[in-house]
């Protein structure tokens, strides 16, 4: 009896090239680590636990398809001919999810719809110019990383895809990389979600480093006059969706998803809101994490560009955080030093994490200072500016 054929997960380790075998074992360990860190709360558990399980299972469950070919029964992202696709849809259990929701960005759009459903655009409507300005400064990473990535050997599509990590918006990164760098979308998206989970840990230090305590403690007066009605919010959703879709039709699915989700909430359609928030969003988040894990097969990850992407991802996020703080300082100076520059960090659109980080740092400096309203406005504008920049990259890069 050939034990290697009986216990094929182990047998394939000895059959494959040593680098692939070592990478498989490493990815199994990383998968276990992601589950542990997700359980501890160090990384976002909603994504990391399914991703960790997917990663360890796909790298452990490798079998012999023939005497010379190995593979898994999870998903085959490379199959493209119709007959091959129809066959594999009936064999690989996650193939239908990948083909019908992942590779066409549907899952990214559903997550974005859920974000629209939980976002409150009222804060954007109260202070549109301030919020937009901060959000634009917070896009520094998505802009500055592009030439850096290109100088490090990535082509324009890959450079744009990794630069979008600076937007701190997972669905945007997935959407952009599927459109512009499909061969690298797995490592780019996995890196993005890993780093986004770490922003909670890193951004507070950035705020403390760049903003002195007396400025962090500035209390910002809010005017109670401008009450925003639900009609205004829906009108904003309609106008913004129309204008942005006209300008950047390639990203129209993203604009539709976000503004429709928000409009449904503002229209008071409770059943739809519950459906999107409680069912769609969690369903999409679960399968997003699981699919990303399952796509982390050793042969996919063993790409020499992955190391470059690891460096560029953190560069993009750091530059965005710095840019946001610069934006906060600009508004501080424009407003006669009566604005809290810490709000700038909320322009990096990891909703609502960065807004909470900003409020937390402000409270530590001054317990009476409440800036959450401004911070949420900047955060939501960050989502909008990220979508704008995604639309520009996706429209412009193919023409270069």
């Amino acid at each position: 009896m050939n034990l290697a054929n009986l216990f094929q997960g182990v047998g394939t380790l000895f059959y494959q090239e040593p680098q692939i075998a070592v990478a498989r074992i490493l990815l199994i360990v990383i998968g276990i680590l992601l589950v542990y860190l997700g359980k501890r709360g160090t990384l976002e558990p909603l994504i990391m636990i399914p991703m960790g399980f997917g990663m360890l299972a796909v790298n452990a469950g490798v079998l012999f398809f023939s005497a010379s070919k190995t593979g898994t029964l999870f998903v085959d992202p490379l199959v493209s001919d119709t007959d091959g696709l129809m066959r594999i849809l009936q064999i690989d259990f996650l193939q239908p999810i990948y083909t019908l929701t992942f590779s066409n960005s549907l899952i990214a759009c559903i997550v974005f719809m859920g974000i629209g459903c939980i976002a409150d655009v009222g804060n954007v409507l109260r202070f549109p110019f301030t919020s937009m300005l901060i959000a634009l400064f917070a896009e520094l990473g998505t802009i500055a990383t592009f030439p850096i990535a290109h100088a490090m050997g990535l082509d324009y599509g890959e450079a744009a895809s990794i630069a979008i990590v600076g937007s701190a918006d997972g669905p945007m990164v997935l959407f952009t990389s599927l459109m512009l760098a499909p061969e690298l979308f797995v490592p780019i998206t996995v890196i993005a979600y890993l780093y986004l989970s770490l922003t909670y840990a890193g951004f507070p230090f950035l705020a403390r480093l760049l903003i002195p305590k007396e400025l962090r403690g500035i209390a910002v007066k809010t005017s109670k006059k401008n009450d925003i009605t639900s009609g205004e919010k829906i009108a904003f959703d309609v106008i913004a969706c129309t204008v942005l879709s006209l300008l950047f039709p390639v990203a129209a699915p993203l604009f539709l998803s976000f503004f429709l989700g928000n409009a449904i909430k503002e229209a008071g359609m409770i059943k739809y809101t519950q459906l999107i928030e409680d069912v769609f969003l969690y369903w999409a988040t679960f399968f997003l994490g699981l699919m990303l894990g399952v796509l982390c097969e050793a042969s996919t990850i063993m790409n020499p560009k992955v190391l470059i992407l690891l460096v560029l991802g953190i560069v993009a996020l750091t530059l965005s955080g710095i840019g946001g703080i610069i934006g906060g300082y600009v508004v501080y100076l424009i407003n006669g030093r009566k604005f809290n520059p810490t709000i700038g960090i909320a322009g990096v659109s990891c909703v609502p994490s960065t807004a909470k980080i900003a409020q937390h740092e402000v409270t530590k400096a001054n317990k009476r200072a409440v800036i959450l309203q401004f911070a949420m406005g900047a955060s939501i504008c960050g989502v909008i500016t990220s979508a704008i920049i995604t639309g520009i990259y996706v429209s412009m890069v193919p023409m270069l």
Partner: protein, 55 residues
């Protein structure tokens, strides 16, 4: 070669700046639309709406 690399770098910097400029213009357009929309709505419907959450 160095000239070629430098030229490619300049090109990508120019592209990045173009993207940023377009983003600024689009975001400014959205902010202006918000103000215009609010002015129109407050002229048409000056009363405050209450949201009826229903069942």
């Amino acid at each position: 070669m160095k000239g070629g690399k430098g030229k490619a770098m300049n090109e990508s910097v120019v592209i990045a700046l173009e993207v940023y400029l377009i983003a600024f213009v689009a975001a400014f357009l959205i902010a202006v639309s918000i103000k215009a929309m609010q002015a129109v709505i407050r002229r048409i419907a000056p009363k405050k709406e209450t949201i009826n959450e229903g069942e």
